[in-house]
């Protein structure tokens, strides 16, 4: 077809695929290094495959254990889909190092809105000696009863590491769990905390 005055056909708009993580960082590889505390060394060894598989397979992040430095090193690959994967994996590994189970920590990989909140008992109340021990005992309860009840009621996971307390869950649930734990530290009896938890969960169940 001859058409005078017709502009030459415009080139089609190029379609670019989204940048890969690798390309985004200008081809550079990104690292994360998570140190392994000694008491998590053996559990890491036992649960290594469970950690490795989702990280390598699904997140497409290279993971290795630096035995000498006692660190878990994470590295992006060329085909890492998202730049946030690396951070997610790092968080996942870090959560495991805090003391969470792999099953629970894996939720970090799968959901964006989960966070880990840490605080110490001394942040809430200065306790010394026996009082601290008793507070810790109150937190966990007999056989971990109180802790489990809080976990089940608020859909969080709690790690009591002597002085430190780590809570894994969504933002709102973390808050509820933290309130319950703080009240326990301050001296509330477990029964009271339980009743409050129930009320809170019932209320939150009504909302959704």
């Amino acid at each position: 077809m001859e058409i005078d005055g017709v502009a030459p056909p415009v080139a089609e708009k190029p379609l670019f695929e989204p940048l890969k993580a690798h390309e985004m960082s200008d081809g550079k590889v990104q690292f994360r290094k998570v140190s392994v505390p000694p008491h998590r060394y053996t559990p890491l060894k036992k649960a290594w495959m469970e950690i490795y598989t989702p990280v390598y397979e699904q997140m497409k992040i290279d993971i290795r254990m630096n035995l000498k430095a006692r660190k878990v090193e994470l590295k992006t690959r060329v085909d890492t889909p998202d730049i946030s994967n690396l951070q997610k994996c790092a968080d996942f590994v870090h959560a495991f190092m805090m003391g969470f189970d792999v099953i629970d920590a894996v939720a970090l990989l799968r959901m964006d809105e989960l966070y880990v909140d840490s605080f110490e008992i001394k942040d809430v109340k200065t306790l010394k000696g026996e009082h601290k021990s008793r507070a810790i005992g109150r937190l966990s309860g007999k056989g971990g009863k109180t802790k489990f009840s809080i976990e089940n009621a608020t859909k969080t996971r709690i790690v009591l590491a002597d002085e430190k307390i780590h809570i894994l869950g969504s933002f709102r649930n973390i808050k509820i769990a933290r309130d319950a734990l703080c009240s326990l530290i301050l001296g509330a009896p477990p029964g009271k905390v339980n009743s409050k938890l129930r009320q809170v969960t019932a209320r939150s169940a009504e909302l959704f």
């Binding site: 629970d104 939720a107 799968r110 989960l114 009863k145 489990f148 976990e151 089940n152 996971r157 959704f208």
Partner: protein
């Protein structure tokens, strides 16, 4: 102290007169003696004229000059006052002097002398403090005394005249000072004077005047009609030998009530006394005469004024009466207002603030907060019973019904919170939640068979730990209900009896049983033992045989070897 004769006194006087002034500069005994004698003489001569002096004669012997002077002063002060007044009066009315003089010349001295005292007393008492003695020397006093004597003589005559005039003035007035008759006579005298009548007429009037003077004095307190009094006052002022109005005004300052009215009799007598009472007053007046005579004519004026005031209440016009009534009422009301209120008009009154039993007398009105007790009559009871019967028949009793409970929200379903560790991972939990939110159909049921199974499969290990041990560890929330039940612990069966409860046969049975058991066990043991021993023996024997056999063999060998 002998009083020196008059002659000696006169001699002394003359002597003093004759001494020359320079001789006075130096003190000499003779001069002082003569001076004392002269002053004594003069004192004595003056004494009769003064009514109120405390000294009858001048005490001179061994007395100080100051003391002598004081005595003289006491005597002469009033005298001088009266004389001064007289002189002033005469200054104003020089005509009187001329009138006096001929009287003196006629020898009316007797009468004059008789009235000297009265006159002088009248004058002296009324004088005010204006006539002050300024002389400090005895000599001066003597001279003054001499002069006074001269003056007094003239004054006395004047006084006599005026006294007579007073007496002649209006009579018939209740007042001491004023009487209508005397007034009339006085008026006539005045007219006679002005028209130049003879002194004889005056003389004759003097006597009559003297009598009436007493009456005047007596009735000074009583009042009379205004007009007469006014006229009298005016004329009395002119004639009364008291002096001018000016003097009167000056002198009034020292006047006292007693001068006018005498000593109070426990109440004034404002009521008008009529002529009937004149007699009484005149008799009593004689006593007061001497007192009253000393009072001046000016006092009469004031008494007249008082009379006027006392007279008014007697006759009032109707208007004045009404005004008085209203006034008294007003006074009453004002007084009531000023006084503290009666207790009934006050606000809150306690028993202490009111007189005893006063509340009983007053009609009190207060609210009764209590319903009055109902009077029960037959009709009332009948009506009540009718109501009761009716209600029973109807069956309508006023029972209290339970109030309906308040509408409240349905109680929240409280999920029992699982106290065990959840088997699901956190991811699965959130996954389920998400699925439930998005697609309820695809979500598994909350309480499925699997979960039931799971629950059933969960079995907790219960150890039969004594409760004390458990309590030591966790005293709070542990109960030994989870522990094994007694029947689980006990392994026996049947009716268990304690040893005490057993009967004889049972005991025997038990013993037999035990024995049997024991025996059985023993036989077993023995059998096993035997078996073992037999074996051992056999072994032993075997070994022995073997040993013997081997020994024999050795011996044989040895023997063979030897033989060989």
């Amino acid at each position: 102290m002998g009083r020196p004769s008059e002659a000696a006194g006169m001699e002394a006087l003359h002597q003093l007169k004759s001494t020359e002034p320079p001789q006075w500069l130096a003190p000499s005994a003779s001069l002082s003696e003569s001076a004392r004698a002269a002053s004594q003489h003069l004192f004595a001569s003056l004494r009769p004229h003064v009514r109120k002096s405390p000294f009858d004669e001048l005490l001179v012997d061994n007395f100080d000059a100051e003391q002598i002077w004081q005595q003289i002063d006491l005597l002469t002060q009033p005298l001088v006052r009266s004389i001064r007044r007289r002189v002033k009066h005469w200054e104003k009315n020089p005509a009187e002097i001329e009138n006096l003089l001929p009287e003196v010349a006629d020898g009316g001295k007797k009468v004059a002398q008789g009235k000297k005292m009265e006159e002088i007393d009248d004058d002296d008492d009324d004088d005010g403090g204006d006539m002050d003695m300024d002389d400090d020397d005895d000599d001066d006093d003597e001279e003054m005394d001499v002069d006074n004597d001269g003056e007094q003589d003239g004054g006395k005559d004047e006084g006599d005249e005026s006294e007579e005039e007073e007496e002649e003035k209006s009579g018939g007035i209740e007042d001491k000072f004023l009487k209508i008759k005397e007034l009339q006579e006085h008026l006539e005298d005045e007219e006679a004077r002005h028209y130049g009548l003879d002194a004889k007429n005056k003389k004759s009037k003097k006597k009559s005047g003297s009598k009436k003077l007493e009456d005047e004095d007596d009735d000074s307190e009583e009042g009379e009609e205004d007009k007469e009094e006014d006229d009298d006052e005016d004329e009395e002022v002119d004639l009364f030998a008291g002096g001018d109005d000016e003097d009167e005004e000056d002198e009034m300052g020292n006047a006292r009530y007693e001068d006018f009215f005498g000593k109070k009799k426990g109440g004034s007598e404002p009521k008008p006394r009529f002529k009937d009472e004149l007699g009484e007053d005149s008799s009593s007046g004689e006593e007061e005469k001497e007192e009253e005579l000393s009072s001046d004519d000016d006092d009469d004026e004031e008494e007249d004024d008082d009379e006027n005031v006392n007279k008014k209440p007697k006759v009032l016009s109707t208007h004045e009466k009404e005004v008085q009534k209203i006034k008294s009422e007003i006074e009453k009301m004002e007084k009531a207002n000023l006084d503290p209120k009666t207790w009934t008009m006050q606000g809150e009154v306690t028993a202490a603030n009111r007189p005893k039993n006063s509340a009983l007398e007053v009609d009190l009105d207060f609210e009764h907060n209590v319903r009055p007790v109902p009077v029960i009559t037959e009709e009332v009871t009948q009506s009540l019973e009718e109501i009761i019967k009716k209600r029973i028949i109807e069956g309508q009793f006023d029972d209290i019904k339970r109030a309906p409970g308040l509408p409240s929200k349905a109680p929240r379903e409280l999920k029992p919170v699982d106290e065990n560790k959840s088997n699901k991972g956190l991811a699965e939990v959130y996954e389920e939640e998400f699925v439930q939110q998005t697609d309820p159909a695809a979500a598994p049921l909350s309480f499925s068979d699997e979960q039931k199974k799971e629950i059933i499969e969960d079995m907790s290990i219960q150890s039969n730990v004594p409760a004390l041990a458990m309590e030591e560890i966790a005293p709070v929330a542990v109960s030994d209900a989870a522990m094994l039940a007694p029947e689980e612990v006990f392994s026996g069966k049947g009716n268990v009896k304690a040893e005490v409860e057993l009967t004889q046969t049972e005991r025997k049975r038990r013993r037999a049983k035990k024995k049997r058991k024991f025996k059985a066990v023993e036989t077993k043991k023995m059998a096993s033992k035997k078996a073992r021993e037999d074996e051992l023996r056999k072994q032993k024997e075997g070994t022995l045989l073997v040993v013997q056999v081997t020994h024999l063999c050795c011996q044989i060998n040895v023997m063979l070897n030897q033989k060989l």
